[in-house]
């Protein structure tokens, strides 16, 4: 049983929030991955919903790509709402 695949676990802590990555685990298939996730990550009432995804199905950015992926956003301060002055007297903005 040492060849069980790895699964990533996402838990939604309560209604209205997003699922957040909680950790990973081993399981032979999706059904048991979900049950293992319940036992490992929600035994202290941490969640109301669980997703499991096979780790090998996740395409992730690599550290090598960091510069080209993320640096171009560094000098574009106009993408932040704080860049703009709010005109006085504007409601419902």
């Amino acid at each position: 049983m040492n060849d069980w695949p790895l699964w990533e676990v996402f838990v939604r802590s309560r209604r209205g929030l997003s699922h957040v990555h909680a950790g990973s685990l081993h399981a032979p298939d999706a059904e048991l991955a979900l049950r293992n996730a319940r036992d490992l990550y929600t035994r202290r009432q941490e969640g109301v919903s669980i997703w499991v995804v096979r780790s090998s199905d996740i395409e992730a950015s690599t550290p090598d790509e960091r510069d080209s992926f993320f640096d171009p956003a560094a000098d574009k301060i106009y993408r932040h709402p704080t860049f703009y002055d709010v005109p006085e007297g504007v409601e419902h903005l």
């Binding site: 069980w4 032979p28 059904e31 049950r35 293992n36 036992d39 490992l40």
Partner: protein
């Protein structure tokens, strides 16, 4: 021993001894994840046992606490069925037994929610959700091992054959006092047989397992008669309390 004390004690002992056996798997399960799952199941059962033992102590009215009842009784005073007390160091055996036991407990606790003993009804109301999960866990594994490889099928069938003789004792109602049934305190174990088997049989079919054709074991757990392995279990469970009376940490 009043009939009600005896009844609550028997249900408590089933849960307690099953929890003790389940605890054996901690650090020994085939995978870390399964280790946690079995520990969780054992803890659920231990929680049921604690509530039931505390209640039994109240019903008895002799001032015995849950710990007194768990740690200071001798083998002949335990009323659990023999199904739960025997060694289960084979994973297939553990899952076959859990399938049978959880199916029984699921029906028992569902019916006990309407008990006229309100504490019993309360414990049952909480436990019924826990047991549904235990049943599901056993089902998942029995399906995978039964309908898995040739080797896993053979071993799952052997495990089922080994546990099946102890199924009948769960549904033997001869030890339950009739007045408890009339007063609505207890549930007739015999009435649970059909619905419990209704939960077990479809799993066996789907898992391509044969219903074992075996003679029932002699039984006697409800009268304090236990198998050879019960003494070893109690020795391990009770030795700390008995060696150091009153110790706390």
């Amino acid at each position: 021993m009043t009939p009600q004390f005896e009844y609550v004690l028997a249900l408590a002992d089933d849960a307690l001894i099953s929890a003790q056996r389940m605890g054996w798997w901690i650090s020994r399960a085939p995978q870390l994840e399964e280790d946690v799952a079995l520990a969780n199941i054992g803890l659920d059962q231990l929680g049921q046992a604690r509530s039931l033992l505390a209640h039994a102590g109240e019903v008895e009215g002799a001032g015995r606490s849950e710990d007194d009842l768990a740690y200071l009784r001798d083998e002949r005073d335990f009323r659990n069925v023999q199904l739960v007390e025997r060694d289960q160091s084979d994973f297939g055996v553990a899952m076959a037994r859990l399938l049978i036991f959880a199916a029984y407990q699921a029906e028992l606790y569902a019916a006990l929610r309407a008990s006229s003993d309100l504490t019993l009804a309360g414990v049952a109301g909480k436990a019924v959700k826990e047991v549904a999960y235990h049943l599901d866990h056993a089902r998942q594994w029995v399906l995978r091992l039964g309908d898995g490889t040739e080797e896993s099928h053979r071993r799952m069938q052997a495990a089922l054959d080994a546990e099946w003789p102890y199924l009948d004792e769960l549904f033997d109602g001869s030890w339950v006092a009739p007045e408890l049934l009339e007063e609505g305190v207890a549930v007739d174990p015999a009435s649970l047989r059909e619905p419990a088997l209704g939960r077990i049989m479809p799993v066996l079919r789907e898992a391509t397992l044969q219903t074992p054709e075996v003679l029932p074991a002699v039984g006697g757990g409800r009268r304090g008669l236990h198998t050879e392995q019960m003494g070893y279990l109690l020795a391990e469970m009770q030795h700390l309390t008995r060696s150091h009376p009153g110790a706390t940490w």
